[in-house]
Amino acid sequence: MALLEVKKLHAAYGQTRVLHGIDFTMEEGTITALLGANGAGKTTTLRALCGMVRTEGEVRFAGHDIGRRKTEDIARLGIAHVPDGRGTFLNLTTEENLRLGGYARRDKKAVEADIERMFGHFPRLKERRRQQAGTLSGGEQQMLAVSRALMMKPKLMLLDEPSFGLAPLLVRELFQILRRINDAERVSMLLVEQNAAMALDLADQAYLIETGRVVQSGSAAALKRDDSVRKSYLGY
């Protein structure tokens, strides 16, 4: 059974309809990329999965119908969303941000250990643990956002443009870490990226979205070879 199954997903902001029936599935343990131009509906898709916009259609996650559930309940089922803008709690310290990630977990004891584990992944955060998160640099905040999501021990992570605003070197480092986590902890990831080349390198599967519909799908490797994809998104 697929971890995530999306059928005929529609979404709208007020009167403006953004998604017009998206279909896709995701297997457990995989990394899937959603590609598309600005305004195609990638971010909205992620938001729709988390119940942050009004939707129609069916969304099944790990056997639960989550199409009508509230954001916090979806999060508690094991979907961790790293939103665009990173969603940092700016006035709380780095450590408190991490602790919030573990807020809904039942295994409170393991939370402390996990915080240390995150510091293992991102040593920069450890140096900043008592600082207000608002004072962190963009890259550090991105790391914090990913760590906060990981603190939730999710089955599925939704990553909205994790590379945005980061120096290329940092992006590479971040993606390596994501890969490592995916390998080691079998966390599935749904990735939205402008940087299609890097996304396809990381991902197993990919879907191409245009104006609120899936127009193409396949393995990352296959899409990378596809001519039209190359022309439109990879730029060579």
Binding site: C50, M52, K70, T71, E72, A75, R76, A80, H81, P83, G87, T88, F89, L90, N91, L92, E96, R99, L100, G101, Y103, A104, K108, G134, R148, M152
Partner: protein
């Protein structure tokens, strides 16, 4: 010199009243980023509950804690039932609901309990060794209780996951939902806590000013001023601010400008301070992001 000392100490006693209500205001502010104008009336109303319990023969401390529980429940219910439907309405619509709550509670209290003043018992011994002519044992005890409440709140927000979640929910509700925090309940919890703090304030204030439906009416403005002076997002600041307002008011009234104009003058000074230091004494300076 004795006159000044006496006025300052009397000011601290009154300031304790402002401080305790200011603390409740800060509580709600932390949870909802709104100032609840009905806070004083809620405190007054719960104090009547305590009064009824004590009058029915219940020991003081039993009544004290039952009232706190009652106040907490009342706060939660008010949020869930009355405030919830206007959660997404413009801020001023919520303010109108606060005003409505204020007049309803005031009026209903007058209706049930009449307007004659009632004396409310103090838990502190009348002739404690600390009694001086400057401050009664109750006034000192009340200040002590306010500080204990402050300490408890500080510990709650700083060291418990729930306290952390409440702070998070107030700051960034969207992100809070994403980590599984039930933001709606955090708001209700904030209301409950504020009402509970208010109940303590009411029970500490009532022995000093006597219990009547308008008991908190005049105090709200001072508490509001104290909260802002100390820093609206800082419980400790609110308490310091409350004391500062109490002392300032007395000193102005007795030595500087006379009683008729002490309130306008105190407010002018406070606003002057806020012009120079907008976040108050202890408030966090927020980074505004465009």
């Amino acid at each position: 010199m004795d006159a000044l000392l006496h006025q300052i100490l009397a000011g601290l006693a009154t300031g304790g009243i402002y401080a305790s209500l200011a603390l409740a205001l800060v509580m709600i502010y932390q949870a909802t980023h709104l100032v609840n104008f009905a806070q004083g009336e809620m405190a007054m109303f719960t104090t009547y509950i305590a009064w009824s319990l004590v009058n029915a023969g219940m020991p003081y401390w039993a009544a004290f804690f039952i009232t706190i529980v009652f106040a907490f429940a009342m706060g939660v219910l008010i949020e869930r039932i009355i405030i919830r439907p206007v959660e997404d309405a413009p801020v001023l619509a919520v303010v109108v609901v606060f005003i409505a709550l204020l007049v309803i509670l005031n009026s209903v209290a007058g209706w049930i309990y009449t307007y004659t003043i009632k004396s409310f018992p103090s838990p502190f011994p009348k002739d404690a060794f600390v009694a001086t002519k400057y401050m009664s044992p109750h006034e000192m005890g009340a200040i002590g209780i306010t500080l204990v409440v402050l300490l408890l709140l500080f510990a709650f927000f700083r060291f418990t996951p729930l306290g952390l979640a409440m702070r998070a929910a107030a700051q960034n509700p969207q992100s809070s939902r994403l980590v599984g925090i039930r933001v709606g309940w955090m708001l209700a919890l904030g209301w409950g806590l504020a009402a509970a703090v208010g109940a303590v304030a009411g029970m500490m204030v009532a022995p000093i000013v006597y219990l009547d439906p308008n008991m908190m009416g005049g105090i709200l403005l001072y508490a509001f001023a104290g909260a802002l002076l100390g820093g609206i997002d800082s419980p400790g600041g609110a308490v310091v601010g409350g004391f500062a307002v109490g002392v300032l008011e007395n000193v102005l009234g007795a030595f500087v400008i006379g009683n008729e104009l002490k309130l306008p003058m105190a407010l002018v000074l406070i606003i002057g301070v806020l012009l120079v230091r907008p976040s108050g004494f202890f408030g966090k300076v927020h980074v505004t992001r465009v």
